[in-house]
Amino acid sequence: MEVKMQKKPKIKYKSTEVLTAICFLLPAVLIWIYWFFIPAAKSMRLSFYEYSFITPERARFVGFDNFRRLFTDDAFLKALQHTFLMVAVVVVLIAVIAFLAAVLLDGKIRGKTFFRTVYYMPYVISSVAVSIFFMYFFVKDGIGTKLFTLFGLDNTTWFTSPKYALSLIIIIYVWQQIGFYMILYISGLQNISAELYEAATIDGANRAQSIWYITLPLVRPTTYLVVTLGMINAFQIFDQIAAISKQSPLGSPAGATSTVVTFLYQQSFSYMDMGYGSAAAMVLLGIIFLLSLLRTFISREGD
């Protein structure tokens, strides 16, 4: 008789339960497969082809050519630069301001609901709408422009100025997104037990010190989420750029606001060079993936 080595007790699954699970998962999974997995896989495959939607018969396999072309394409490299700059600034601004707002609202404040609603309100407005009215603020002699001239900036229309257009996008985006990430932080702050603060106050710490030594370390999981999510979202910024470009090609003025996303969008839907556009999207995916890995490493070390 053989002696079977049993590592784990075999889990018995009840058939009714598994059946229900399948039924419950089916719609979501089918949608995921048909509208995400298959298109994503095909897009990845497409990046190795030269393909145009209007002339599908002329598609041909070109291997890594698209990628080689990308990295010698000045427009793409410029877009890459802008993307990195934009994402870095946006993520830092959002993480800091959202955290501050959440901390402020965490204490005993009157009118908490009012403030929370107001801070979140920009998030429910369409990014196109937000871009439009910020464009008005930052026209020549506009309110926003005048405010910044106090800091020594030129009095010019921001969205047509190659110097300021990208900053405008950053302002628009951050203004709109703070509310969302603030809610994430508020949720994270809830989990920090009040007793810790009490103990600290008894030991003589003031508000600032409590925040520095207690809040910041304990809120790290939320910061991690905010930075990850914020980064993934910032890489995909599109609406605002499209809005301020109006009728000109994306990334106006003169490519000052071009990003990897606008680049791939233009290649795919304006120039119909979908293979090339897919390759650019693959590069974007690669970047996001690498950065996520990097961050996972960093946070592991930190523990």
Binding site: I11, Y13, K14, T16, E17, V18, T20, A21, C23, F24, P27, A28, V29, I31, W35, F36, I38, P39, A40, S43, F53, A101, L104, G107, I109, F115, R116, T117, M121, Y123, V124, I125, S126, S127, V128, A129, I132, F133, Y136, W175, I178, G179, I183, I186, S187, P221, Y224, L225, F235, Q236, F238, D239, A243, K246, S268, F269, A281, L284, L285, I288
Partner: protein, 270 residues
């Protein structure tokens, strides 16, 4: 004394922030009510007018756009209230093989930038002849992974004893979900509803790319058209912004209490 100063500073910052967020919105509403000559000035109440709105309604198929936007948003929200929550429940509370694999795949898919998928999605829709229809902006979005995660996270917090008691009473698994768990999951559904409603109503990139027949536009796409043509006419464009944002803001104000509760309790945690 020092404490008073600190408190004052706190309220001061809070109010300044509130103004930064509120003033632009008020500015929009204000200018939308002004005739062109008075734009960006202090105009007396007597010149306030609804003419801007009237003009937009006559020049553009606004009602058509409202309907397109409303219909597509309702369809998508209904889908996302049902499908992701069912799937999230299965992942959180039911026992079956392959849970980890499924969850892992979903997690990875969150990292993929949408624009990568978008290209093939468009080709797929065109092959089905669905581009330029309402299906193009609804079908692919009936179940979104983010809400699946939220649902799963939320259902973890539901006590197992509750489910077991219901099972002992003879309810099927499906019954437990629909009769017992769903009614107590209002914060989750409110969160999904708000996030999904605003997200879909306001979405620009997808409707703009997948639809190019003017009468099938959504409000946002239509607004951008107005912006492109009439940018100089601040009052008109801003009236368009009001038309676009007004329903969402209203919806938000009505449901925000449940939403904040949902955001806290479902703990959109890492």
């Amino acid at each position: 004394m020092k404490k008073k100063l600190l408190t004052f500073l706190m309220y001061f910052t809070l109010i300044v922030l509130a103004l930064i967020f509120l003033l632009p919105i008020l500015y929009v509403f204000y200018n939308a009510l002004l005739p062109y000559r008075y734009v960006q000035t202090w105009a007396p109440v007597s010149v306030w007018t609804l003419d801007n709105f009237k003009e937009l309604f006559t020049q553009y198929p606004i009602l058509r756009w409202y309907w397109n936007t409303f219909l597509s948003t309702v369809i998508v929200v209904l889908g996302n209230l049902l499908f992701p929550s069912m799937a999230g429940y299965a992942l959180a509370k039911l026992h079956f093989p392959g849970k980890k694999v499924i969850f892992g795949c979903l997690l990875l898919s969150m990292m993929v930038p949408f624009q990568l998928t978008m290209i093939q999605m468009y080709i797929q829709l065109a092959k089905l002849n669905m581009h330029n229809t309402i299906w193009a902006i609804t079908l692919p979005f009936l179940s979104q992974t983010m809400f699946l995660f939220m649902a799963r996270q939320f259902f973890f917090a539901v006590p197992d004893e509750l489910l077991e008691a219901a099972r002992i009473d003879g309810l099927s698994h499906a019954g437990v979900f629909f009769r017992i768990v769903a009614p107590i999951s209002k914060p989750l559904f409110a969160s999904i509803a708000i996030l999904n409603f605003t997200g879909t109503w306001n979405s620009y990139m997808v409707p703009a790319t997948f639809i190019n027949k003017v009468d099938k536009f959504t409000l946002v796409v239509g607004l951008q058209t107005v912006n492109m043509t009439y940018f100089k006419k601040t009052n008109l464009t801003l009236a368009g912004v009001v038309l676009l944002s007004f329903p969402v803001i209203l919806f938000f104000i009505c449901t925000q209490k449940e939403f904040v509760k949902g955001a806290m309790s479902s703990g959109i945690k890492a």
